[in-house]
Symmetry: C2
Subunit: 668 residues, 2 copies
């Protein structure tokens, strides 16, 4: 009945599965977003499993960077050729298909589909869309998005690449005036794209008009040689994602036609006259979309890490609890549960938050097409905040899961190094986390200002708690009677206090210094405020999802996970709750007791909960996290792929250490 | 005068150096351990800088695993051939020399010198020492230490490799009875060592005698072929340290002479009679030594990370504080200071703790040779605890420093991926951190039991605080008048309370369950107790070092760093200090104000403090952390090494994506 139980599995993991208190299939249906979604996933899995050409011939851990790139490119061309699966009208199916084929790689057309084509679509005129989107969707050209520079990241207005309009020839002249202006980091730029949307500072009629996007052909479509007046290259290896040729680009008086500036919003007329955009915020939509995808994908990485750690801990035996008895499954250690179980709960919390974000995004997109940008600031703040909080906590959680697997967690066989490499990147790309938290803070300031000016009833729903009446003390008495409503109220209290504290610190500082220095001197408090704001959202959404949407039969296991998440959040920030006696220590102690109880309730269900994440073995890519639990023989088999094992005596021995020892022996 | 200021440096970094309030050279002298030590380091640096053969021909980031190994091996043979530097009677000089040549690599003789030779020395009889140590020191053979198995890590008594004595032939028969018994992880085992000390479970006359060490030849010294009855190989790539051939080994009835069991402590006589060791704890000494080296080395990695982040943040300009003004040095952002400055303070705190640990170790070693093992439990607990706390916090700190450098921190050019790879390993090897913390807890329990039984005056010095009289409240009034003595007292209070809380929880649990389950159910509290015990030691030692040993002229800067460390520790555990009103919120607020003040006092000195760590550019190995601050041109130059930049059009383009696009264009 439980599809995860099969013959010849490790008996320890089968025993776990038999002990589960719930139906794992029902859990999966809810977790992935419905029966239909699960069915589509299974269909895609079967499709990829049945087609060797869509998979890696050897584990990617054993590939050199060149081999990684070659393999990734080969799979990418295969992937897009299966048109029944690679269907851009069905994003859900397509993205799962792509994630099974490419797992944690960024392939050569990732930026093409995620940035190049969408930016043209959202910022191009209809002629521009007709011209470049047609080419792009046909994959007749491949493009990327070149914004960041060696010396410039998130601060768009200070980019140094220039695009100077020459009305005589009706061309823009692109230049990289100094080294710090070199485009740096764009994926697929170094070696494989032949087009790019380049963001450059526009000058026309002698005036600076700030950053604008331009479509630039960078390589010959036939020979693939770099075009004159451009220097291009790979920026070298990184902590992860090395199948991608993140690149640099330097312009020296490159001329492009006037028509290559994307002119849906701003325009430069033939005579050089500049026309301002009507709505300056419309460009936000794309960022929100990318971040909403990110939150869910990154949450999935934590689910993968938790799956690996939980399954491995159920088959790894080490140490005795009772002397003389066999060694115990390490999942029985309280310390091990502490390391892993919060990540299980967070993976779910973050996934649900990501799902909700996408739902809101769909609503906002619809409104945007009708010219209504009212909800944009709210969802922009939420997506920025979720991205910052989730990526950081996912990375922390993956590392805890890795540590929980001891030495084997350090081997590439575990998949943890790759997961960490990816999640570390996610803390920085698509907006540095600190910068994003400060953007959230600006949204919070506006909300507080509304309240202070008596417009508290106008607040966005997500900020209503800021205007709620203050309780003086937590009403928590016994964790068993501590309701979800109480928990949310207590977290609201702390979030509200921190938001007002940061705001007041800022106001106070402004009395003695410039607004800008005041902002800087209260930035740490604002980051904390933003984090609380986001964490409150995550908890509230988790509870709502469980109480309102979850089917009855899996509600108890989810409820325990939601409480585990909330208790962990409160206990690990006990200081904030005890400030000024809002909670006293006995209450914190209750929270801790509740937390311990949640751990032990989860223990017998843990393996089935992670089974319920429905992570396919291809995506798991981990010897430690195998469904069957037969880890040790699989590790030995995996190691046989090592290039060092192809020959018995290696060249470095014969060249270096062998002669040294021989000489030493002859002298004894 | 300041040797770090040179012409053509980035003016931003020169300005920082000119603003320093202290003499950087004096700081270095104190930090490294004295004028003499600094002079030796400079001598070694010059030696290695002058010899191309001791350095990497290209940055190691661009080497394949095979190239890494070949290069490391080549340098190793070079390194040992310079006998004036490679002098094992001068460990201090030798270890710095080795660290400059090999930086963060484990070379082919690392385990040979760190484990194989020392274990024979400490556990062999005089004949065994004469035979194998002579060969080992001459480098006529190369050895490693094989203890961990696929299924077994820290729990020595449950190893599964067997050594069964056959009195007929006077041989031991080594076997790997099942896959989980395969030796797994030992460095240099896979391909390069020809000997190993193997830890196996001894059986003689039909009785199991537990784990014992055996010297085993594993490869032919002439041909280097694996000997019969042994299977050997590399375990595959890891998160880092890939120049090392961590290996696996499987025995199938391998016979070795009786004389190959290391018999200084236990013996097996020719007839199979087993003689027990006189003192079972004498073997601890080696572990303490290795951990004391580790604490200092790992602390140094944090110093390196802080150097990179601080220097880069002084030359990176991004965003405006005042609109219209040029972009600011990101080191001016409070959020950036929060990310980096605690790591500067911790690097120093940990280094001083490591230095002190080594001093105590020397004292204990001397006592041990006189048969006095009195201080052993104390230093064993301290070294275990420091290893666990320092490795974890170093890893966290490195990651914060990496994040502070934005996208560039993700490039291998930054050195952060390598630093993280190394520090992640350090959390697991030489004892899993949780296991170590629980060992510390056992020492703490003994101390509490002494107190409870009225022997409180017998406590080891490091535990005296456990017997101190309880204050009810912190006396903190204003952070400006908060003395080191007050700070230590407050941290003592929290540490003591946590130790007793864990102890009481354990005692309470024992009433309703077995001792072993009670231990498991209080393990999390005990881990916390151990951490507080260690952190208290670190703070106290930092203050002592500054107040008693630091020269007058650098005392102010160090004092500020010590307070920054302590304030950060208290503020980030505010909940513990507020429990039961020991501190109230206004006091925590004072601590925070103190922390902010420390940040701003450190700001103008930050670059010179990290200069004062005296990290050589070879060891730094970071484009972002360059002394001269000329980061951007150096990044561009570094990237030219990428193998992807050797050809303009790469094979994967011609094989895969090129034909795909060509076909698409033909169809339009």
């Amino acid at each position: 009945m439980n599809p995860y139980i099969q013959t010849n599995d490790n008996p320890d993991i089968t025993k776990e599965r038999k002990n589960a208190s719930f139906d794992v299939e029902k859990f999966s249906e809810f977790y992935v977003g419905g029966k239909r979604v699960l069915a589509v996933r299974r269909e895609v899995e079967k499709y990829v499993e049945d087609r060797k050409e869509l998979r890696d011939p050897i584990p990617s851990a054993f590939m050199s960077r060149e081999e990684l790139i070659d393999n990734s490119m080969r799979k990418m061309v295969e992937m897009v050729s299966h048109e029944d699966m690679f269907d851009i009208t069905n994003i859900e199916k397509l993205s799962y298909y792509a994630s099974l084929v490419h797992v944690r790689e960024v392939h050569a057309l990732s930026l093409h589909y995620l940035m190049f084509v969408p930016v043209i679509q959202s910022q191009g005129t209809s002629e521009q869309i007709e011209k470049w989107m047609t080419l792009g969707l046909a994959r007749a050209i491949s493009g990327t998005y070149a914004q960041t520079e060696l010396g410039h990241g998130t601060n768009l207005s200070k980019l140094e690449t220039t695009a100077t309009y020459d009305s005589k020839t009706q061309e823009f002249i692109l230049n990289t005036p100094k080294i710090s202006a070199a485009k740096w980091w764009p994926g697929s730029l170094g070696k494989f794209s032949n087009h790019a949307v380049v963001v450059a500072i526009l000058y026309t009629n002698g005036e600076c008009k700030g950053p604008h996007p331009f479509v630039v052909q960078i390589r010959d479509t036939e020979t693939h040689k770099v075009l004159p007046n451009i220097k291009l290259g790979d920026i070298g290896p990184k902590m992860g994602i090395n199948a991608s040729d993140n690149g640099y680009m330097i312009f020296n008086n490159l001329r492009i036609p006037r028509e290559n500036m994307l002119m849906k919003h701003s325009k430069v007329l033939p005579d050089g006259k500049y026309i301002k955009p009507p709505h300056s915020k419309l460009a936000y939509g794309g960022m929100v979309f990318v971040r909403s995808m990110m939150v869910r994908d990154i949450a999935n990485h934590l689910a993968i890490a938790a799956t690996i750690a939980t399954r491995y801990s159920s088959v790894r035996r080490q140490g005795e609890i009772t002397p003389g008895k066999p060694e115990v499954q390490i999942l029985d250690y309280q310390t091990q549960q502490l390391r892993i179980f919060p990540s299980i709960a967070r993976a779910i919390a973050f996934r649900f938050a990501g799902q909700e974000l996408r739902n809101i995004f769909k609503k906002v997109s619809k409104q945007l097409t009708q010219g209504n940008a009212e909800l944009l600031p709210e969802i922009h703040a939420l997506s920025s905040g979720l991205k910052a909080v989730v990526t950081f906590e996912v990375q922390q959680g993956i590392e805890q899961c890795r540590l929980s697997c001891g030495g084997h967690g350090y081997s590439m066989a575990s998949a943890f190094p790759e997961l960490l490499g990816f999640s570390c990147a996610s803390c920085t790309y698509e907006g540095d986390n600190i910068v994003l938290l400060l953007q959230v803070a600006k949204f919070l300031i506006k909300s507080v200002e509304k309240i202070r000016s008596g417009q508290g009833s106008d607040l966005a729903e997500i900020c209503e708690y800021l205007n709620r009446k203050e309780a003086r003390n937590s009403t928590l008495n016994d964790f068993k009677t501590y309701t979800n409503y109480d928990i949310v109220s207590d977290i609201e209290f702390v979030a509200r206090r921190q938001v007002f504290r940061a705001f007041n610190k800022f106001e106070e500082a402004k009395k003695t210094m410039s607004k800008e220095h005041a902002w800087n001197s209260s930035a740490i408090e604002f980051c904390k405020a933003s984090r609380w704001h986001v964490k409150l959202y995550i908890v509230r959404n988790f509870f709502k999802k469980v109480d309102q949407d979850a089917p009855q039969e899996i509600r108890p296991v989810l409820k325990n996970l939601a409480r585990l998440y909330a208790f962990d959040l409160i206990a690990s920030a006990a200081g904030n709750f005890m400030e000024n006696g809002y909670m006293h220590f006995e209450q914190i102690q209750q929270i801790k007791n509740g937390f311990y109880e949640c751990l032990s309730i989860l223990r017998p269900d843990a393996v089935s909960v992670v089974d319920g994440f429905a992570i396919n073995e291809i995506e798991l890519r981990s010897v430690l996290g195998r469904r069957d639990g037969n880890v040790y023989p699989a590790l030995l088999e995996w190691a046989q792929n090592s290039s060092l094992n192809k020959k018995e005596v290696l060249a470095p021995f014969e060249k270096h250490i062998g002669p040294m020892m021989k000489k030493a022996r002859s002298m004894l």
